[in-house]
Amino acid sequence: MEYNNKIISPILAQKLNISQKPEEKQQQAPVQNAKQKQYPYNPQVGQNVIAQNKQILSPILVQTLANSGITKTQNSENVQKTGLTLAQQRVPGYKNDLKEALTHNRAKILAVIPRIMNSQDTDGNELIQGDEIHGNFINAVGRLDDIKELGFDTLHMLPIHPTGKTHAMGTAGSLYAPKDFLTLDPELVDENPAPEARKRIEEIYLQLTGKKLEKMDKNDPDVAFAQCAYLLDECHKRGIKVMLDLPSCASVDFAKEHPEMMAKEADGSEKVPKGWQDIRMFKPFEDEQNRELNKDLLDMHKKYVDMCVKLGFDGIRADVGRAKPVEFWNVIINYSHNLDPNFGWLAETYTHEDASPQLNMPYDRPKELLEVGFDSYYGQYHIFKDWTKAQQLYDYVKENIELNNEIGQKCGAKSLIGSFATHDDSSPMLYGGAPWVMFTTVLQSMLPQVNPYMTDGVQTGDYYIFPYDHALVAQTQTDNNECTVHTGRMDIFNYSRKPGGQFPEIANVVKSAFALRSNEYNKINGSSSLKLKMNDAQDVITKGSFIILPTNNPEIIAFARHKDGKTLLFIGNRNVNKTVGGTIQIPGLKENQKFNNLIPAYGEPCKIQNNQNGSINVELGTSRACVFEIDNPDIEKLSKEENVLQQKYID
């Protein structure tokens, strides 16, 4: 039996060994307690850890473990010995860096649904029925090269658990109504994989269970685990990280089986989130008044984390982050970091203190979730289309950078995803068609503190309009014969066709924009396309300052990204209906500056004219976005102070 003999992360363990002695801690205890009342962290300890490790660790974990004396039992030799996770053992050279990628704005995320990811819709009705093959762990691999080619390096894998069948939504059951959190959906198993894949799966099965695989039986839960690990391995081989979506609620079937975990209404009935009749809410507290957590729920999530780490997931996307209290995440996230210090956490939570759908559910407070260990969060970019003025975007960018800078000195960098359209939003194609998708793609690729994010299909212009929308069908896996669809959104309720649309030009733009962020631009577009040296473009975008450029047209979005004398310029027209023109002030602009768009042209043309007086005149086609490399080393100094925003954090 080969087990991961890692007891605690080497970095963590190393840190704990050099931390203060327990006795000293004891002596300081009263003072610390007093501090803790005000603020739970001990910033000093945390900073030491961070400073010396150059690794983002939760200060809480560091401190609590240090206080507990647990580390005393650790043998430093043992720690040195710790090394490869099961996934690392399977894929030599692979290393999870999701946490760092997220926090340092380096992830480029695609949201995928394995059960439809590579569906084979042979009859063209877009619904997978009868002999048609829906997506599974094995055929999903067939999509990976394409995904990788566009530049995506992270998958947000929507839930892959067996779905509840009672009061279900759709014919396959909602992805967010899991019947069980600790097994995988047997429907995702391919019982007849190709020989090469089969061989690999057998090896993984042996690694995970210690047993030889007798039969590729989808009813054997470990076969699903093995096939999932196979998919993850294939991702890792291609440098793609995967985070698994942790549903915030459970199916009706689950609730029946585990009443101890479920929240109850005052009349004893189960709590149902508004608009989702197929799921029931958890009871995060055993005793809410004293804020005593529900142990059963906590245990299950701990096992969920165990499962994810074992299988090789690189992180978790927590559905409805606010559904569980900060104390809950305090345990779970820190525990995950104990298993894998680079385990990434993305919170589905929004910037503003939104209100609660239920009386006892607290507000969205992204700050506290980020403080307790989440690396990235959703934010509000999904309402970008309602921001008719560029200033609204700048304000939001500023708000988030300020939030980051407020907590960044204690907790390190924090980021957002480019949540311009998530699976909870309508396809951006419906708002402004392919040009709009390309516009938001380029924009989110250029924004600070953002990890670009897309839902599978949008990269080629999927409208998410399905002919079977709300049709009644005979074949169903649930108690529902209606093909429930949230019209215009990704189908999470049925076995749908493979996501994708008819606009390959979007993919081209994605490729170019993402290439800038990963220093592969010249590799794709020829060596002289971008003058910046290797790594520079990525640094400018992921680390550089954000400089708002004054314009005389509020619809024009114009900003520069700048780092160490290198500058990229973004100019875009957020209007989907008309060409807009205006003048953009670019402090320090050289008179002979030429403008070569680094993004492939699409739609209506854009015209740029250097006025040779520190400004340019532009005429931008509908939803056009352009990125230019300009030689303007002093732009940051010459810009007004309030127009220059810089993410600050302890690294």
């Binding site: 087990y3 499962m307 209100a355 507000y363 506290e368």
Partner: protein, 797 residues
Amino acid sequence: MPNISPLTSRMMTDNTKQNEHQEKIYKHLAQHANDVKPNEAKARLVKENPLQSAASAVSDTFKDGKNFVIAAKTGKLNDNSLGRINDLGLKAGALLIAGFLASNAKTKTNAIMQFLGGATFLSVMSLWPKIFINLPARLVHGFRIDQKYISAQGDKKDVYLDNQFIPTDIFSKQELKDNARRSGIDYESENGEEKILRKMQKTALQNRTLWMATAGFATPLLTAVIGDKIEPLVKNAVINHDFMKSRQALDNIDEVFSASSPIVKNKKQLEDVLMQYSSKNLDSEGFKKISAALNIDVTDIFKDSDDLKPIKDLKFNVDENALSVARNQVSIIKDEGLEETLKNAFSDLIKSKDATQGTSERAKGIFANVKTIQESHNGKIEAEKLDEVINNFKNLKEGKTYIKLRQMLQEAFNAQGNKKLTSLIDTKLSNMDLKYDDTPFFEAVRQYNDEILASIRGRLKTYLDILNPVAGSKDESVYTKIYRQAMEKIFNKANFTKEELTAIKLPPTNSAQHKTLDVLTNFFQRFASLSDEEYTNAIKEFVVEDKDNMVRDFIQKMYSKDNKETISKIWQLQGAANKPVFNILNKGLDREIESNIEHFMDVANANITSIRSKALICANLERRIKSGEFEEALKSVNTILGNKYIDGAAIDSIENYAKNFDTIPVEEWIKKARQLVYEGTVAADACKLELDFEHFQTLKNVIYDKNAFKKEIELVPDLEGLLKNLILSKTGDVDNSNITGICGLLRNSAKEMLNNRTWKKIFLPMTFALVAVTLLVQPLFGNIKDEFPETKKKGAK
């Protein structure tokens, strides 16, 4: 525990040393989960007492204003702030509308009420939920449902603004406990906190629904009810304020006059010259004197004595009345500006070449024409033509029309040359009042007169301004107030029906008059049947009740010796206008009111500008015919009708009746007379007989018994004049405000009474019902028993 796969299960139960250690870490973390605490909510409840709340309402309004400016400048504002600008718009809009309406309001009360009405509307909108919903809810349930909070983004909002998204976590445990205790929920019981939260949520939802359901009715209803109550207070306040202002002005009348009445400084010298030449022809000597008085050198202008010739034979008029009044007021006419004005005007005129030449040429032109006439027309002219020509001269009041004059003369003489005419024309022309616009001198005189008259008019206006708030006929005078109160009493005593009031209040042009004649008859009879005693009592009640003698004092002072003379002179100058004011001064307020009410019916009868009055005449006629007083008069009616005023088919039948007068029953006569008088006087398209007013007056005199009429005239000394004015008022020549005011008061009183009755009948019950329902449903709210079965169970036990 959930079902878990063998893999996961084994991972958990593995007893290797490493896994044990991880378990240990997990357990430790779980035990110390509470090392972190949720961040404090940035949101906080707003806790203000009513005073602070009022203060913050004001400051919030300013904040809204500030936000509006920000929004206008930058287009940047969050939804909440933007939404609140609606409130600002509502307030500003209300102010603008009130301002606009007030600018067109006829009375001060109306103007003030526009603002107060707007303010009342906004206040009711704000206070209705506070007093009738939130306060009872608080008293009944023990917690505030209008609780506000400052959100994390700094916006002030209602906690229960959106019932599905209530920020319950900003309530402290203690607050929830207190709320629970006050609303009878055991906080410590199972689901205690949830119960009180649910109760708060439900109560708030129900009450906010109640608010939305009732506000649409409550706001206008209460605004109207309150406005109705406020208006008399405002009117009284306005009347009292104006009265006190008048008193003060009367006490300081000299100062008031000096501030408002300009006059020439060295007018004495000028006046002397003017008076000297007021009755004789102007010569160069006179001209020089005037020039000297005004310090103007005119020698260059009138070098040629011929220049003076055209005007030599003309007389000019100085308004002697005006001058005499002015002379009497020397002591109080002190203005120093006029001399300068006059001097400048005169100087301008004579220095203006065009003006001088123009006027001179014009004057010359006239006389040249006269000469031409004299020379060229030696023939005869017919007497009729001569009359016409002379009449035309009479109509030529101003020299400016000399062109017309010349044309007429030429036309006349061309038609019939007549030598006799020459001298006649000459005489006429020499006596003609060509007024003052032909020469600088006359211009000076005219200006002088105008200024003096302006001064005198200013004085009169001052007097009237002082008098009107007391004895004026306008809506807001002490006199009107007392009169109106008397009318109300009488109306109340007469106990008119709704139909009667509806009929009397209808606008004059209402075409339904035929149908309402019977109602009007009843109305009239009822009114007429009020005994003298009742009249007297009603009047006395008010006169006696007027315990504040300030009004009487005021009248006495106003009509004191000093003022009396002045007023009389002004009165002479001004003619008949404002006579009622002087009636009051002469007869005293009591008598004026008394006489007004006594002959109110006759005044109303006489007010032929009003169909209402015509109807009253008809009704009066009917009454008198029934009483047998006017048989003789009826015969005369027949004569008149037969002779002159009957025309067309409708009247033919009356003619037929007339032929068989003796056989016609009285009732028929009544009917026909009513039809006749009504149709004969009704305006516009309904008019059948084109009776002019003079003839109508004759008709009326015939219809009415002359002796009785005379008797009435004795009772009401100026009734004849009053009627005359009424008739003239038809053409708008005379200020009829006082006269129509009396009839207007009748109509207004009827209107008000009817409105009040209608109001009370419809809206007061509605208001009471609304308030009652709003209050009574309160205890039914916030019932959560069905949602907490165990509570129900306990209750059942």
